[in-house]
Amino acid sequence: MPSIIPPIPTFRVMNSHGEMEDKSRPPPDVTNEQVLTWYKNMLAVNILDTIMFETQRQGRLSFYMVSAGEEGVTVGSAAALGPNDIITCQYRETGVFQQRGFTLKDFMSQLTANKNDPGKGRNMPVHYSGKEKTGVHAVASTLGTQIPHATGAAYALKMEAQENPTDPPRVAVAYFGDGAASEGDFHGALNLAAVRNCPVIFICRNNGYAISTPTSEQYRGDGIASRGIGYGIDSLRVDGTDIFAVYEATKEARRRALEGGGCPILLEFMSYRVSHHSTSDDSTAYRNKSEVEGWRTHDNPISRLRKWLENQGLWDENQEEKTRNQIRKDILRELVTAEKEKKPALSAIFDDVYEELTEEAKEQKAEMKRIMLKYPAEYDVDEYEGGLAGL
């Protein structure tokens, strides 16, 4: 009976006072510089979120999604991955992009859909893509679909490794939420990964909610980690507000995923979605403010790591103040710069559907141009790079 099986324990390294939970354990195997980078990256994500949420509220962005409470999960796990590992994301993984080299300009180009956005202004805000910089697949809004993509990518990496045994081996990683794990794609992806021995890490961000639906209405089993066992996949539950635990778990998962020619691993990072689901959501409609408060203050990945840094004498109020101000200034500067840029050229509307423009697309492009020329007052083409000539 599931009810008599004890719940899977949660792996933790650092307690909420920023001290080692188990004093007899050696301290985390990371340099001070690494930890400071993580901290600044978490701060950057948090401040970026706050500013962009407000920017959306002012109508300057169509949409935004923050990841408050989950900065430790994304930054910590991304830090443990290899530089060329392949990642598929859901959409609340800004920290992954930040940790893996996205600049403020990269973020702002996508969010404002300007001509520097590699997605050519086609995607909603926060649907980042970064093959060159980060190895991350372009984000889609569809939930769960990216999980089997990581399985397939992992199989490709495995075959590549067989052909080039001297190259450093790589893994694929899929990030998804506890809600997305209810989709059929989760099942297909994990089952296939186990059967085909794929070097893939499945990272579930269990933040307690899928929009308004609490986990009590999402599943009755012991969270997501317990499901891995049924697929024959080694699984671990981790405190997602403890960046050291997240880092160590991911690092070990990566090591094991590459063992014996490939082996999938499931990690469930427990956290709490401190913010609203998105700018289109008011979470006070379905949960109490008091419930949020504890997670905002006490079990918060940023304040927890700050305490650690202060305990180590690596951080103080002055540095905190200075860093926050600098990040805020940089973000606002990049935002204004990005807003001033032209939008991508109009041709981007028809390009990339097929490798080459089809006859149908050529006809439709000509028809669009004809209409725009005939009714010039009805279309504002100046904001697009090259204006009408860009079509």
Partner: protein, 400 residues
């Protein structure tokens, strides 16, 4: 749901169906025709002009390179031609992988016979029974530059993977933009169409559902030569391709197929038979029905009918069709799947929309297709357009 996939009986009865045309076996056959029928007689695949019965006719095709035209042919049925194409692709490109439900032992229709043994179980393998998983997996492989060939056991079971096709495979390059990651290496094979007794879930032809998805190429071959050339083109294509195989032709359609590797152009229709009075447009299995109907009506009414095989139903070759209809002024579109929002709707609309063609039209465009129903076991013969219905459709547009 999947327990209803009775693999062996399907293959056995399929053999019975496809061999019945030439046999005079006693006992009731599924495809017996009414005793006095003149039109609705089963296709004689050994004489149909749709197939190349000699090496010379097979190699005459100007779409083949001079090198292929000077090479040899081998007698193959449709599943053997597909097997030959897959074998060729696996042998020439290390990034080609083949997977799906039951492909390792050769596939329930024998299309992947011996491929796992010859190319290794890392490249040709079974997957768990999960269509969304299979296509999600294929997309992940293709995004890393592989050329996965995924098999969906029956087109009727592609729907669990629809999200992966519509929202992922088709949109991948578009949303990634200048990053340039695409899944063009992906080819999805699926047996489709009526087989005499497939009923609701072993007979469907969902091609028009795919033609409403920008980003995908949707292909259906009519016979072994086409199957090999178009499948190799689909695998080589940098756009994700849906390759639909009319399963009733797997064993029935036999012709001389060039042994060398060759591709046939995608998004290019083929004029199978030139004519001047009426244009008949079709693809896949009904081309045999059309050919038989045309033979009769040309004799009966002294007409000259042009027959066009679309081959790729999206993005389709509008120019070849419009050019033909401008010449003939009359047109019938024939397909197995239902009339409503089918390929015929798109073709007919494109014909009337083209100013020049519209002015040349002498009669309304006629759609001759499956009724807007589900495929009923007992009534399949009355649902799929038969020779009589195609004959009558041509007569209607001629007499208008």
């Amino acid at each position: 749901m999947k327990s209803l996939r009775i693999i062996r009986p399907t293959a056995q009865v399929l053999r019975a169906v496809t061999s019945s045309a030439s046999s005079t076996a006693t006992g009731r056959q599924y495809s017996t025709s009414p005793p006095n029928a003149r039109l609705n007689i089963p296709t004689d695949f050994s004489t149909t002009p749709i197939l190349s019965h000699s090496s010379q006719s097979a190699l005459r095709n100007p779409e083949l390179s001079a090198e292929v035209r000077n090479s040899t042919t081998k007698r193959m049925n449709l599943f053997q031609a597909i097997n030959d194409a897959l074998s060729t692709a696996l042998a020439t490109d290390d990034s080609v992988l083949l997977f799906g439900e039951d492909v390792a032992f050769g596939g329930v229709f024998r299309c992947s016979m011996n491929l796992s043994q010859n190319f290794g179980s890392d490249r040709v393998f079974n997957t768990p029974l999960t269509e969304q998983g299979i296509l999600g997996f294929g997309i992940g492989l293709a995004a890393e530059g592989m050329r996965p060939v995924a098999e969906i056991q029956f087109a009727d079971y592609v729907y669990p993977a629809f999200d992966q096709l519509v929202n992922e495979a088709a949109k991948y390059r578009y949303r990634d933009g200048t990053n340039g990651r695409g899944v063009g290496g992906l080819t999805v094979r699926m047996p489709c169409g009526g087989v005499g007794h497939g009923a609701l879930y072993h007979s469907q032809s969902p091609e028009s559902l795919f033609t409403h998805i920008p980003g995908l190429r949707v292909i259906m071959p009519r016979g072994p030569i086409q199957a090999k050339g178009l499948l190799l083109a689909a695998i080589a294509s940098n756009d994700p391709c849906i390759f639909m195989e009319p399963k009733a032709l797997y064993r029935a359609a036999v012709e001389q197929v060039p042994v060398s590797s060759y591709t046939l152009p995608l998004s290019s229709a083929e004029i199978l038979k030139p004519g001047s009075d009426v244009t008949v447009i079709s693809y896949g299995h009904p081309l045999y029905t059309c050919s038989a109907a045309i033979e009769h009506i040309e004799k009966d009414l002294g007409l000259s009918v042009e027959l066009i095989d679309l081959r790729t139903v999206y993005p389709w070759d509008k120019e070849t069709v419009l050019k033909s209809v401008r010449k003939t002024g009359r047109c019938v579109v024939v397909h197995e799947s239902m009339i409503n929002a089918g390929i015929g709707a798109e073709v007919a609309a494109a014909i009337q929309e083209d100013k020049e063609t519209f002015l040349r039209l002498e009669a309304p465009v006629k759609r001759c297709a499956g009724w807007s129903i589900h495929m009923p076991l007992l009534y399949e013969k009355l649902n799929i357009p038969d020779v009589t219905r195609v004959y009558d459709s041509i007569k209607q547009v001629t007499e208008y």
